[in-house]
Symmetry: C2
Subunit: 124 residues, 2 copies
DNA sequence: TTTTTAAATGCATCTAAGTCGCATTTAAGA
DNA sequence: TCTTAAATGCGACTTAGATGCATTTAAAAA
């Protein structure tokens, strides 16, 4: 099965905590923080953080900090930028590829912050 | 004097804490977090946070959260993007203007994250 | 299948940036 | 100089995430 293969291909032990986490992230269309999923998982938060961190080391998951002092995680797929609303903190994936180079730097992430459509239309 | 004028033009009381804060930020070439300046100021951290927050309301200062769960502040001047190193957390101002529009969104900030020149050359 | 053991887990505790309530102090207008 | 709303300092609080340690478990060896 897909999830089990991902874990074992990286030489990680196949535990139920890891399967639970991957299941959720593989089925999500947007980055999620611990708080977003804590009610859907049965493991302790320390276990979540240790595992998601290991997934990141193994390049299964990619993460970034948002506006709300929380770290958001998503399955590492095609690189894309994120839009973060400074008003409601919603995160959108921007699928149009932005090519951006800086000499002697490696660009890993592009975060655009501002006011999202919902808040914009409410004129906040 | 410059600093006093900035404060009074926004109808803020001219206090020594406010002068201290502005003095530091006007002389800095890059965004600073509380931790970066705490040894240079004499006020309590609550006072710092309350004032910087007021400066932000009054559009004297602009801020964003970085990688390290800290909020960075800078004097609001020409809009520019920032490069944040995922390895050493250093922040650079990118002066080349990046024009970026998203329909029905307001873009307020552009953060590029990755590996900075120093870390890149060290091959971290 | 059973044994072995390094890795994973749960629990409790800790850390650190930032916030808040409240008593005291101060800027600035009357 | 007096008055008062706003600003300050202090201590306590909040919250995402990290850590130490005893217990459990996956998976390789016997």
């Amino acid at each position: 099965m897909e999830i089990e293969k991902i874990i074992q291909d990286k030489n990680l032990k196949l535990t139920s905590a890891r399967k639970e986490i991957l299941e959720i992230f593989l089925n999500s269309q947007k980055p999620l923080a611990y708080e977003d999923i804590k009610d859907k998982i049965t493991m302790d938060k320390a276990t979540f953080y240790r595992n998601i961190s290991k997934f990141e080391d193994k390049a299964i998951v990619h993460s970034f900090e948002s506006n709300d002092k929380k770290r958001y995680y998503e399955i590492q797929s095609t690189p894309h930028a994120h839009f973060i609303c400074n008003n409601c903190n919603t995160i959108e994936c921007l699928q149009d590829v932005i090519n951006f180079e800086i000499k002697n730097h490696i660009v890993q992430d592009i975060l655009i912050k501002g006011i999202c459509e919902v808040c914009f239309l409410k004129r906040v």
